[in-house]
Structure formats: C-alpha cells, structure tokens
C-alpha cells in the first residue's frame, strides 16, 4: 500500500526494509513521521509491527539462566592451571632453545675443524659373540640336535654383520630360535650352505 504524507510516499517494501530503524527509534523526525503515516493507513504493516513487538516481548520474557553453583570454583581451578602453564612452557622453551644452540655450536665447531670435508665417521663394529653355559650346549647336543652337523659349538647373535655371507634369501645366514630339551629358547645361527671360511 502506498501512503503519501509529508510530501513523500512510502510503500510497504520500504517500511519492512527499514523497520529496524523505526523500531529502534534511530530515524530522524521527518522520516519517523513518514513511517507513522504509513502505519496508520496500512493494515498489513500494522500486523507486522504487532507480531514483531509481541514476539520480541515473549522472547525477552523467557526465563534467564544462571551459572551453576560450582561455576566459580571450576573457573578458579582452570585459572590456577593457566597461572602454572606459562611458567612451565617458558622454562621449557628456554631449555630447548639452549640445547639446540649448544648442539648447533658443537656441530659448527666440528665442521670448522674438519675444514670443508663432510663430517662422516665410519664406525667398525666387531661381531658380537655370546657364550652359552656349557651345560646348555651339552643339553642341545645331547637332545634333539645331537646329530645335526649345523649346530655350532658357539651360539652367534643373529644378523651380526660379520656373519652375513651375502648369499641372498636362500643360502644366506639366518637366525632361528632352537628349543632344547628344557625348552630353553636361544637364537642360533643356522646355515643352509657351505660356510665361507675365507671371510
């Protein structure tokens, strides 16, 4: 509906689009008079105004909720940990930074002392040999492996680098646990091919 008042016409579309300003009373006096005039002559916009104001009143009248009684003690507990955590993290960060700085300085020093050569250290590890109590070997020799020529006198640690004959999957050395008569499980080097004595 169009309403002409104060020299300006207002249509319902404008009323609804700018209704917020009218409701919140932020319009200039002249503008407000235009809205009042439109409302006076338009049943549809009066209905809109009535529904909205009553709906908002009903919504504002909803019961207010309050925090539970343990809200502040819980908050205090959380704030206590907030107080604590920055201190821990601050020290931790400084500690980490110092450790990184020391490690970097050490590496840099080593690098400088070696000139431009890359820092590569070859480490030779001897084969690890493990002695087994005599009686245990004797047990295994006198037990189910008595006739097995591949059971060695000494037990070797599996996968020791010096024992690798490089024979691939078949014929290479591999370790198997051997159960003796007393069910003692020991890792034993077994070979399926000829031992390479030259190595």
């Amino acid at each position: 509906m169009d309403v002409l008042r104060d020299g300006a016409m207002m249509v319902c579309k404008e009323f609804v689009e700018r209704h917020t300003e009218y409701l919140d009373d932020t319009l200039a006096a002249g503008e407000r008079r235009r809205f009042d005039a439109h409302l006076e002559g338009c049943g549809s916009c009066r209905r809109y105004q009535r529904v909205l104001t009553r709906g908002l009143a009903a919504w504002r009248a909803l019961p207010r909720v309050t925090t539970s009684p343990d809200f502040l003690p819980r908050l205090q507990h959380r704030l206590y940990h907030v107080d604590e955590s920055p201190k821990r993290s601050w020290r931790g960060q400084v500690g980490r930074a110092a450790a990184i700085a020391v490690a970097s300085a050490g590496l840099f020093t080593l690098g400088v002392s070696n000139g431009s050569q890359p820092l590569l250290v070859e480490v030779q590890l001897p084969p690890v040999m493990a002695d087994v109590p005599t009686e245990t070997v004797a047990e295994s020799r006198g037990g189910r492996f008595a006739d097995d020529p591949y059971v060695p006198d000494s037990f070797l640690v599996p996968f020791a680098p010096a024992l690798d004959d490089g024979g691939g999957l078949f014929g290479s050395s591999y370790a198997v646990p051997i159960a003796t008569s007393d069910s003692i499980v020991l890792p034993v080097e077994r070979r399926t091919g000829q031992l390479d004595e030259s190595r």
Partner: protein
C-alpha cells in the same frame, strides 16, 4: 537468591606495596575499566568481581545463541580463561564489555560452525526436550486457565524455535540487540562487521522471526 562461592584469594595475590587493597564492596562500586586496572596492578580479587559481573550475562548470551545450556556454561568458562590470559593486552581505550562479548561471540560462532560441520543430535538436549514435553502442566496461578498456560508455553517454545532457525550470523546480531540491548555500534565492534551490515542483518533476522512467529500471535 543463591550465593555463589568466590574465587579464592591467596596471599600471593596480595596487591604490591604502595597500593591499597580494596574490599569486596569497594570493588563492586568500580566500573569495568577500573577493575581491569586494579587487576593489572596486582589486585587479583578484581578478576573475581569481573567474573561475578559477567558470568550470567555471558551465559544467557551464549545460551540463546547456541541453544545448549551446559555447553554455554563451558564456553563462558573458556571466555574468562581467555580474558585472564590476555587481559594485559586489553586496550583501555576500548569498552571492556565489548571486548569480553567479542570473545564470547567468537566462541559461540565457532561452536555453531563446528556443529554445522559435524552435525549430531545431543542426547541430553533431546532428553530435556522430551521431559519438557511430557511434564505435567504446573499451575502457577489458579486464576489462569489451563489453555492459557498451554498457549503461553507454546508461545515460549515457538519463539525459542524461531530464534534457533535464524542463520548463525543473523542470530548473533539478534541476540546482542534484543537480549543484551547492545547498540548498533557495539554490535558492529563485537561482530567485526560494518554498521550497515548490522542493520541489514538485524532487519532480516527480525523479519524472519516475525514470519515464523506470526501464526502463533495472530
């Protein structure tokens, strides 16, 4: 009115030398900016007053925005923890209430976005709703007719449902204006959008709210 326990004030929170410690009653008379100043100068009890002053207001704001009371309380806690952590960075030129509502509003918006990404029906919300639906009518006033009470309850449910139907960015503006009574300028600062956008969102939210609620109120 139930009394709520205070945040404990230990000796380590005593104010520094040369600054008088204010009592609870004196702290209550201070405005927010003064409370913040006292807190930053070492009077930790001032934070208790801030929490006391804002806990229910923030709870209602977040609850009406996200619709889950328990979760709202968790988010109010989170709001205070963030305020506590960053209070030293608070710009005294700004209004404290705007700052704290900005934090709460961001948390509420994040909550709604997380829910939109991972939709799930909260069992306790369902149960509460079921209990509310099946609870016998309580006649608070014998002068009221049961159908009046029923109608009132229906209207309450409808207005709550109508607000819950609003899009997230409209709802935040709507709650800040209609429940908290914030000015357009404050809403603009809290939500980080222009004044024109605030007016536009508020108008659309009211329009949609009116359309949903109209059949109940006509």
């Amino acid at each position: 009115m139930d009394t709520k326990p205070d945040l404990e004030v230990t000796s380590q929170y005593a104010p520094p030398d040369g600054m008088a410690s204010l009592g609870r009653g004196e702290l209550k008379r201070l405005d927010d900016a003064e409370l913040v100043t006292h807190y930053l100068r070492g009077q930790r009890f001032a934070f208790n007053e801030i929490a006391d002053r804002y806990q229910d207001r923030l709870l209602n704001f977040i609850y009406r925005t996200i619709g889950d009371r328990d979760r709202a309380e968790d988010l109010v806690q989170e709001t205070f923890v963030r305020v506590y952590r960053h209070l030293h960075r608070f710009d005294p030129g700004r209004k404290f209430s705007t700052w704290i509502y900005t934090i709460a509003s961001n948390l509420a918006k994040n909550e709604l976005r997380n829910r939109a990404r991972n939709p799930l029906v909260l069992f306790h919300s369902l149960r509460k709703s079921w209990e509310a639906d099946h609870r016998p009518l309580e006649f608070e006033d014998t002068a009221y007719r049961p159908d009046d009470l029923f109608r009132k309850r229906r209207v309450r449910e409808q207005v709550e449902a109508a607000v819950a139907e609003l899009p997230e960015h409209h709802r935040v503006v709507f709650v800040l204006r209609e429940l908290e009574g914030k000015s357009y300028e404050e809403i603009s600062e809290i939500t980080g959008v222009t004044l024109g956008t605030v007016k536009s969102r508020l108008n659309r939210a009211r329009n949609r709210f009116a359309r949903i609620i109209a059949p109940m109120l006509d």
